[in-house]
Symmetry: C2
Subunit: 143 residues, 2 copies
Amino acid sequence: METNDLRKAGLKVTLPRVRILEILAGSHGRHLSAEDIYRALIEQSEDIGLATVYRVLTQFEAAQLVKRHHFEGGTAVFELNEGEHHDHIICMDCGRVEEFLDCGIERRQTDVATRLGFSIEEHNLILYGRCRRENCPHRRKRS
Amino acid sequence: METNDLRKAGLKVTLPRVRILEILAGSHGRHLSAEDIYRALIEQSEDIGLATVYRVLTQFEAAQLVKRHHFEGGTAVFELNEGEHHDHIICMDCGRVEEFLDCGIERRQTDVATRLGFSIEEHNLILYGRCRRENCPHRRKRS
DNA sequence: ATGCCTGCAAAGCTTTTGCAGATGC
DNA sequence: GCATCTGCAAAAGCTTTGCAGGCAT
């Protein structure tokens, strides 16, 4: 039950927050911008302002319920924080985003940081490429 | 001679472009925002508009003379493209940026991409940590 | 009942663009 | 001389903030 996540974060259980959580949960791994979420709300006839979407997402980020990514070009995108870490690979043709985790890469990152005299706190790895799926070449895919 | 780089890129050798290249070359690895460069120009009494800085940087990026990074929080930063690729580690306390290259990480990235059915075009890896230098703990260091 | 939320509109920031004049070749 | 470039100012995103009213608890 997501409403408990809200309570645990010290946030009141309000309709905008619940709806936004639902939309994020229903995005099946797609990464949504504030605008994406705003439009999704409009589609389901919820009268929630864009400013609220931003505010809620910022609160969710502070509460570690979501992660904010900057990918490329100004617009931030958000995804539910499922707990376990992963990195991203993005298709430059169709915009599809896949997630992955490679222990070897993770380990070597720690090694590099140590070698340079840093203690690593977090990291951000994005691969840009082209996927060879037959349904790729044009436009973002609906899930 | 940097003016040749400009010519090779099909760009006329103008004062703004030369000055901006010089500033980037003299930044000793520090990553500069458009605003940083603009202020540096003002300091040396060059009357060059911020819009021009942005335009020139965009042209330089297209000509692969510089790389644009998005690091964190809205503002893009730029560095001279020295040819060989590297990644970044950033100190969350003092903002210091170090560069590194780890062949193991590079190789595994390619492997991961292949496994997922992508051909990798480029990537972006940033480690965030805390450096333990005695001169670190507060504020960004002037070079 | 009270304090946290929300909507709206306005402001803030970074970046881009239109246009008339200036400059490199 | 001509095309490209620049400065200025205005516009265009994306995101944040102020304020008055609304809602969860």
